[in-house]
């Protein structure tokens, strides 16, 4: 709104003065959330702290607060994702925002309209944030340069999935407390995983020791430049681990010479109950979903006592509420006084 851009109006009430003076601080996050790369420990912990409060809201009988009343959040999903989309949608609704979903069959996205056109058209309807899922890496970075409202990356190609990374961190902290020095093993198709990239940035920022493992065709030495230890076999990666995160293996990888077969993958890289025994006794098992039971994770492990997979889903709503609050419920970022 252009009139707001001129100069911040002076506070008129005791409340405003109080907050402007007593609690003034720089915004925790930038205008958009495109990834966790480059976020500081304080920023990430800040989001997780807000998420903790949001989880309180989700645990009340009335799971709704009026914070984003009158705001509109658009979920633009160019790639199917029931889980992430519904999580963002519930998060927005719990904050009283109106949500609309765009994407999938029947929308313009299947009629040859470009991502940019779709986004510009949506923006013309004055949403307060656009949540974007797209199959192309960098799609959100591209959109963020074109639109005025905040863009929240809900997963772009093999680049980043920041809300997933944050909910994973939240779940780990909830179970284990500080992540400083903890051994976190992430196993699977590292090369094509946006989850592993976001987790790597977040885990390193919070001081965890990250061990990554995958078949030689699905890993890259680049991960080591971000402070991860790389393994070509699962056993050393998960030995003594506090956390094991299994990544989904895309069935399409099978036979394209990246992995010979799912059967072989399960045998050498799958998480079986026996392999869980290599980790710490109180290890927690995570998976960003959707799982291939019997491929990267055996059913006994997925549904077993170490699994926090459903906690991840619950926490996803809280983390996304925090992100929407931090990016949408704020006025001009111009400092006062």
């Amino acid at each position: 709104m252009p009139e707001r851009a001129t100069s911040p109006r002076p506070p008129t009430s005791q409340e405003s003065l109080d907050f402007a003076i007593g609690e003034h601080h720089a915004p925790l996050l930038g205008k958009h959330l495109l990834g966790l790369e480059g976020l500081s420990r304080e920023q990430i912990q800040g989001v997780l702290d807000v998420a903790r409060r949001m989880k309180d809201v989700s645990e009340r009988p009335v799971k709704k607060v009026p914070t984003l009343r009158g705001k509109t959040v658009v979920c633009l999903f160019h790639e199917a994702s029931t889980r992430t989309r519904s999580s963002f949608e519930i998060a927005a609704k719990r904050l009283s925002a109106d949500t609309i979903n765009v994407g999938g069959s029947g929308s313009s996205t299947t009629k040859g309209e470009t991502l940019l056109d779709t986004a510009l058209n949506l923006e013309a309807m004055r949403p307060d944030a656009i949540v974007v899922r797209h199959s192309e890496s960098g799609a959100c970075n591209f959109l963020a340069r074109q639109v005025e409202c905040p863009v929240i990356n809900a997963g772009d190609g093999a680049h980043e999935h920041p809300s997933q990374g944050l909910l994973d961190l939240f779940t780990m902290q909830e179970r284990l407390g500080s992540l400083e020095g903890l051994k976190v093993a992430i196993v699977g198709d590292l090369l094509h995983s946006r989850v592993v990239r976001s987790n790597l940035y977040g885990l390193r920022a919070l001081g965890a020791e990250v061990h990554l493992c995958g078949p030689g065709t699905l890993i890259s030495p680049w991960f080591e430049s971000y402070g991860a230890r790389l393994h070509r076999r699962i056993e050393p990666a998960i030995e003594g681990a506090d956390v094991i995160m299994m990544l989904r293996i895309q069935r399409e990888r099978q036979g394209t010479s990246t992995i010979p077969s799912l059967r072989e993958y399960e045998r050498f890289f799958g998480l079986s109950p026996a392999r869980v025994g290599l980790a710490k006794p109180d290890v927690i098992i995570m998976h960003p979903g959707p799982m291939n039971r019997g491929v990267e994770i055996s059913p006994e492990v997925a549904d077993g006592p170490y699994s926090v997979i459903l906690d991840q889903v619950t926490n996803g709503v809280a983390v996304r509420m925090a992100l929407l609050y931090l990016l949408v419920a704020r006025g001009s970022d111009a400092p006062r006084g």
Partner: protein, 202 residues
């Protein structure tokens, strides 16, 4: 030479202390008077709970609870954080910190006394009421404030006020409690007349 554990609340820039509204003894007396009024209006002590509005009402709620103790039993005390219920999030710049709401008891059917330090426009109380009602349906809600400084923007009045003081809209009232490193006083701040350019006004 006093060593404070908690940091003293910062005085807002561009303001100066106009006068003391309450000294330590007066503040004590005001709270005592409020407590006895609460007691007389609510004869069943086990049907009353105190909920302080974060941040200014939290310590006052605790003090009132001690004053209301019957045979060493204090009424339950909770905290309500109003951040997610504020109506001015668009105006206050970067996101305010979200505090926790802690109401470790059922409010269904009891009388809740909301406690805050200063009552001004009434918007904070409105937000606190909305937040409170999302936790249940109390039999009644009463409002206790240490200082009522007038200038209401909503039809909200205190049931108990330690002090009613006429102020100008440009003034500020600060309650500086010992729990936060203050010296248990309430002060009236007014704008410095010759504010340095870019100093006082936002």
């Amino acid at each position: 030479m006093t060593t404070k554990t908690a940091p003293r609340r910062r005085l807002p820039r561009g303001y100066r202390i106009a006068r003391n509204l309450l000294g330590p003894a007066e503040l004590d007396a005001a709270l005592g008077a409020m407590a006895s009024e609460i007691r007389s209006r609510n004869p069943e002590p086990d049907q009353v709970a105190l909920i302080g509005i974060r941040r200014g009402g939290v310590h006052l709620a605790n003090r009132l609870a001690k004053l209301l103790a019957v045979a060493g039993r204090e009424p339950p005390v909770g905290i309500v954080d109003i951040t997610l219920y504020r109506d001015d999030l668009d105006r206050v710049g970067p996101n305010p910190i979200v505090g926790s709401t802690e109401i470790p008891f059922e409010i269904e059917g009891i009388t809740v006394v909301l406690v805050d330090d200063v009552l001004y426009t009434g918007r904070t109380v409105r937000a606190a009421l909305d937040a409170l009602l999302d936790y249940g349906r109390p039999r009644g809600v009463q409002l206790a404030v240490l200082v009522d400084r007038g200038h209401r923007e909503l039809p909200i009045q205190p049931d108990y006020a330690g002090l009613r003081e006429a102020t100008r809209p440009t003034d500020q009232v600060e309650v500086l409690l010992a729990e936060e490193g203050g010296d248990d006083t309430a002060v009236l701040l007014e704008r410095e007349v010759a504010a340095t350019p870019g100093g006082a006004h936002a």
